[in-house]
């Protein structure tokens, strides 16, 4: 399963648009952010929880996109890093005096290391073999979390509670509103970080490795280092998302990190657009809301409806939601005659 260049939208594009055109996306983004900040004060508690999940999933999916979309390394096991992040937060809060907000970067750092270490042997694996290995990681995760020898730390099959907390500085925010803003803050920072990373030289190197590894190597790019680092960074993102999700759920247990979490991430990533940053947001909305929507359509065969959505989406938008407007635009424009 080699990922081909043609599969991916969102390769680096030089924009020759004028200053006015450049301003438009910035204004739109700003408006979106303002909207996002107003949201917690107008929606119900349940909706807010859903939207917080969307923000968290967006971070996780961005991690996956960096690895799979931009660097071409397929991962069916990112649920494992999600779990590590969540459990790190749970264990640290349970057993140490570290404040909750500090556990998040620590979880990220741990996942960075684990991801990097996993990336090293993964260097030898391509396509399906890498898919199987990461899949094995995802399958192994709940089993390891239930493992008797680790029970003292992980709480075994029953899981562990994650202590709650209040909004800081006495801000007049409810706990769930504060958590939403906390997640949003992390998301903004991480998205900006990703954008700068991918548009810079590192990003070029990462993409070059995906498209033409041999050419990249012959230009002096240290493939092994970059691939392992990308794995690490990708794991870090998903780990941070996991930590946040642990705080939100206030509970971690092995069964909440089954293989379906990893598969869900893959689905969200592809549906959103695997080689794009904005795709992570679309994908997050998909995996948060579509299962509920499918449930409303049919309680008896919810996942059949969900599966049908997947197939339909892929038929209409093979390169994901993020690439869809560009495809429509290409279809509608009259084809230029090549001399």
């Amino acid at each position: 399963m080699a990922l081909a260049h043609g599969d991916m939208p969102g390769t680096l594009r030089a924009t020759s648009a004028g200053a006015g055109a450049r301003l438009l996306p910035i204004v739109a983004l700003a408006a979106l952010l303002v909207l996002a900040c107003l949201v917690p004060f107008v929606v119900s508690s349940y909706r807010l929880l859903q939207l917080t999940s969307v923000v968290i999933y967006a971070i996780a999916l961005l991690g996956l996109n960096i690895l799979t979309g931009y660097n071409g390394q397929i991962s069916l096991g990112h649920g494992a890093f999600f779990a590590i992040g969540a459990y790190t937060t749970a264990i640290l809060l349970e057993r140490t005096g570290i404040p909750y907000w500090a556990t998040i970067p620590i979880a990220g750092a741990i996942c960075l290391a684990v991801g990097f270490l996993f990336g090293l042997p993964a260097l030898r694996l391509e396509g399906h073999y890498l898919a199987l290995s990461t899949f094995a990681l995802a399958v192994a995760t709940p089993q390891l979390l239930k493992f008797r020898l680790l029970e003292h730390w992980t709480g075994g099959v029953q899981g562990t509670y994650v202590p709650g907390f209040k909004a800081p500085f006495g801000l007049p925010l409810a706990w769930d509103q504060w958590l939403y803003f906390l997640s949003l803050a992390f998301a903004i920072v991480l998205f900006v970080l990703a954008r700068n990373l991918l548009r810079g030289n590192t990003g070029t190197a990462i993409i070059a490795i995906r498209d033409h590894p041999i050419a990249a190597a012959s230009m002096g790019i240290n493939i092994s280092l970059y691939k392992s680092l990308t794995f690490g960074v990708s794991a870090m993102y998903t780990g941070i998302a996991g930590a946040l999700s642990g705080l939100v759920a206030q509970f971690v247990s092995p069964d909440s990190f089954s293989i379906f979490v990893s598969l869900g991430f893959l689905v969200g990533s592809v549906i959103g657009g695997v080689a794009s940053i904005s795709g992570a947001v679309f994908g997050a909305f998909f995996i948060e809301f579509i299962p509920n929507f499918a449930d409303q359509i049919s309680k008896a065969a919810t996942w059949a409806v969900y599966g049908s959505f997947l197939i339909a989406f892929m038929y209409l938008m093979p390169t994901g939601v993020a690439g869809f407007p560009a495809r429509i635009w290409k279809r509608l424009r009259p084809s230029r005659a090549v001399g």
Binding site: M1, A2, L3, A4, G6, D7, M8, T68, I74, P121, R124, L125, E126, H128, Y129, A131, L132, S133, F135, A136, V139, A140, Q143, L144, K146, F147, I214, L263, L266, V267, V270, I271, V274, A300, A301, T302, W303, A304, V305, Y306, G307, S308, F309, L310, I311, F313, M314, Y315, P318, T319, G320
Partner: protein, 288 residues
């Protein structure tokens, strides 16, 4: 020693199932370069068809054949109606399509047949059993070996089998000799569906039938295919038997049954890291 032999032989019996699924996966992979993640679910659904027929009064082997046919026909239909439309789609998108298919079939099975775990009949008389293997395990090995043999003979000695091999290897050249490549693909899916049905029907008496029965088996089939070398259908079959033995021995002697799934996978990954083409596969050299 007896216990070891029992675990070993039992592992071979399970291995027959993994070999069949691995073979089905490789057949589709060779033709389309895609892994059919829904292979297990197709088999499971066919097994339910067999169960329904048996419960309705059909003799076992009649139900077996009908379920097999069902697996074949649905395999062909899935390829012609759904998969064909994604021939040009990016690899990851096709993966999502397969996952979608998995969800649909699994959910339909749960809806039509309920999620209750049910017993599944075994056609092999208890007298067949021995000290080391139960009657069903012996029958299982027999049936899977016969299946593998028939598939081998089909591909090796029949004109249609030859045409299918050609279509998988080189679709363009195949068209130039008049082979209808699209239908060869559909036929491959049909055969894979039938083989998957056999695997599920053989496994059901042991693992009990329920919509999620094939999840672990599919994973082992996947591992078998990779261990054997994804280009090599008979490597996949051999890989299946090896995986079956590893699974049982790992479960019995290394870790308990809880972790045996992970351990087996770890062992396989170690093999892959040291020999990426699998035990019997070959690396495809791509020109730069």
């Amino acid at each position: 020693m007896e216990a070891f032999l029992h675990q070993f032989l039992s592992g071979l019996a399970n291995g027959g199932i993994y070999a069949s699924i691995g073979l089905a996966l490789v057949m589709i992979y060779q033709a389309t370069h895609h892994i059919n993640f829904a292979q297990g679910e197709q088999g499971m659904f066919s097994a339910y068809v067999a169960l329904v027929l048996v419960q309705a009064g059909f003799p076992y082997w009649a139900a077996f054949l009908l379920a097999l046919t069902f697996g074949f026909v649905t395999g062909v239909l899935i390829e012609r109606v759904i998969i064909r439309r994604f021939e040009q789609a990016p690899v990851l998108s096709v993966v999502v399509v397969f996952l979608g298919l998995l969800f649909i079939i699994n959910s339909l099975a749960g809806w039509l047949f309920t999620y209750n775990v049910q017993a599944f009949p075994s056609p092999f008389p208890a007298g067949l059993g021995s000290r080391f293997l139960s009657a069903h395990e012996i029958g299982m090995i027999g049936v899977t070996l016969v299946t593998l043999l028939l598939i081998y003979l089909f591909f090796r000695f029949t004109p249609l089998g030859l045409a299918m091999r050609a279509a998988a290897q080189n679709p363009d050249a195949s068209r130039l000799v008049g082979i209808r490549v699209g239908w060869m693909l559909a036929l491959g899916w049909g055969l894979a569906g039938a083989v998957g049905a056999i695997a599920a029907i053989m496994a059901a008496p042991i693992v009990y039938i329920e919509p999620n029965m094939m999840a672990g088996i599919l994973l082992y089939g996947f591992a078998a295919a990779l261990l054997g070398g994804i280009n090599n259908p008979w490597g996949a079959a051999a890989g299946g038997f090896i995986v079956g033995v590893i699974e049982n021995l790992a479960g019995a002697y290394v870790v308990g049954t809880e972790l045996k799934l992970s351990v087996a996978l770890v062992i396989i990954i170690v093999v892959l890291v040291t020999r990426p083409a699998g035990l019997f596969g070959y690396t495809i050299m791509t020109r730069v």
